[in-house]
């Protein structure tokens, strides 16, 4: 079996204020073992919803999601999610936040702190072990959340715009570190981003989604050897291609919001 995840005809409807919103419409795709897959699409197209469904936090309205052939019924440690929002436990310092997953799974204190320190070092936050979330910037909190998910050693790492709050340099370092872990530990990554450049730099394949309701517009394999050069001709070619595919959808989603605001509906 070469697919770790199979997303089969998955749709998700939300009901809020007596209005039904079709967030995700009949999505079908596979994720291969040890694949790095990115999802890009206009905001509000259902990217977070897809990740949350894979994580098991949200049930598909129809269709099903399989992991290693078994239907996903709820959240579990083998599918770690780095949320788009800030989610550190505010009463725990950085070290205890990163060690949280290991603590839950009963890893002895000494061992889990050792692992946690290694990941804190990886995200470049040595010296902040004792700091509390309220003392950290948003970008730092997000890095700690990444360390927390990776330290828990999930088979599938789901990441929802994890680098959005970071400056360009930190972002580049973390992209590099993420690729290192992914290669070394044979992880499968599903990565949501709004940066096409980031998607091309990191991914084996990039899924482009349509404006809401989210469907798959295109899937682009990135056939470039790593480490990739962001200024190489091929790299720029891929970027342009994906930006072009995305452009119409972003426009559509922009107009959708405008019409919705004017009461014409969408």
């Amino acid at each position: 079996m070469e697919n770790i995840l199979e997303i089969r005809n998955v749709s998700k409807k939300f009901v809020s204020n007596n209005r039904e919103i079709l967030a995700v419409d009949n999505l079908t795709f596979d994720v291969k073992y040890n694949e790095f897959l990115s999802i890009v699409g206009p905001s509000g197209c259902g990217k977070s919803t897809v990740l949350r469904m894979i994580a098991g936090l949200e049930k598909p309205t129809s269709g099903e999601i399989l992991m290693e052939g078994r239907r996903i019924e709820g959240p579990g440690a083998e599918r770690g999610l780095v949320f788009q929002q800030y989610t550190l436990l505010p009463w725990r310092n950085v070290l205890d936040n990163v060690a949280f997953g290991l603590e839950i799974r009963g890893v002895p204190k000494k061992e889990r702190y050792e692992i946690a320190r290694r990941f804190i070092k990886m995200i470049g936050m040595e010296g902040f072990e004792e700091a509390y979330p309220y003392e950290l910037s948003g970008g730092m909190q997000q890095r700690v959340a990444i360390a927390r998910t990776l330290a828990n050693d999930p088979k599938v790492v789901l990441m929802d715009e994890p680098f959005a709050a970071l400056d360009v340099q930190t972002r580049a370092i973390l992209q590099h570190e993420l690729l290192k872990i992914w290669e070394k530990e044979k992880k499968t990554v599903v990565f949501v981003t709004h940066s096409v450049e980031e998607a091309v730099y990191l991914s084996d394949r990039v899924i482009v989604m349509t404006a809401r309701p989210g469907r798959i517009k295109d899937i682009i394999p990135i056939d470039l050897p790593r480490p990739r050069k962001r200024d190489s001709l091929e790299f720029i070619e891929y970027r342009k291609r994906i930006v072009n595919i995305l452009k119409d959808e972003v426009l559509k989603s922009y107009n959708m919001y405008r019409y919705a605001k004017n009461g014409i509906g969408c």
Partner: protein, 252 residues
């Protein structure tokens, strides 16, 4: 320290002293120094009913017993009600009906059930402290951001971990607020309960007894002690809240 803050209290004391001298009737208003004399000699027996210190300790002991009991029931029940809809549905209506009844309205029933004495007082204090503790605990648990629970779930947390490692720590600030408010009300209740017939010790008792002997200096001294202890209780718990729960401002 801001000296301006002391202007009004000092003026008040001066006014009291002048008024007392002018009235020259300690049964209505004793002079300041008489009250101070009682306060600075807390170990001297007053009117043959024990010392100010003893009576204060009796009240404190009662309040602690009632308060601890209220916390021991209110906090766990609040956590269960906040977390499990089933428990909420079981108790919700009873709580909503009993909550608006002032603790002192329970006095006749307490006397009928437990007779005059310690148990009745304990019951009144319990009732007073219980509801703020319960309601704040429920609010704290319900206010735990869902995303923190989801975070724990994606890290592999089961129901027990979520309750012990997310829900309870996250609601601790709110629980502590409930305990602080509960302690304040318990303190008010103990004084009131000690004024009931059949009481034979405590600050509330001492006040009423001193009143019956027209010893207003003792009455006022007791009132001041009651006020100071209430203040210390409140400030102490507030200090803990600020010192150990700074992070709570992060939970929105």
């Amino acid at each position: 320290m801001n000296l301006r803050k002391f202007i009004a209290p000092l003026l008040g004391l001066a006014l009291w002293e002048l008024l007392a001298l002018w009235l020259n009737n300690p049964v209505v208003l004793p002079p300041v120094e008489e009250v101070i004399k009682v306060l600075i000699n807390p170990q001297i027996s007053i009117l043959g009913t024990g010392t100010l210190l003893d009576n204060t300790l009796v009240s404190i002991k009662r309040v602690l017993s009632g308060f601890i009991l209220a916390g021991a029931v209110g906090v766990p029940l609040g956590i269960l009600m906040g977390y499990y809809p089933l428990v909420m549905d079981l108790f919700d209506i009873i709580i909503e009906l009993l909550r608006p009844i002032p603790p002192l309205a329970w006095v006749p029933l307490a006397l009928a059930w437990f007779g005059m004495g310690e148990t009745s007082m304990l019951f009144i204090i319990f009732i007073g402290a219980f509801f703020p503790i319960l309601l704040n605990t429920i609010a704290g648990v319900k206010g735990v951001p869902k995303i923190l629970i989801e975070t724990a779930q994606t890290l592999g947390a089961k129901e027990k971990d979520i309750l012990l490692k997310v829900v309870i720590p996250a609601s601790l600030p709110s629980i502590l607020t409930g305990l602080r408010i509960g302690a304040g009300i318990a303190w008010m209740c103990v004084v009131a309960a000690e004024m009931l017939p059949g009481s034979s010790a405590g600050l509330g008792y001492l006040i009423m007894y001193a009143y019956s002997l027209s010893r207003m200096d003792v009455v006022i001294a007791c009132m001041i002690v009651i006020g100071i202890i209430g203040l210390i209780l409140d400030r102490g718990l507030r200090y803990i809240e600020d010192r150990y729960f700074k992070w709570r401002y992060l939970i929105k």
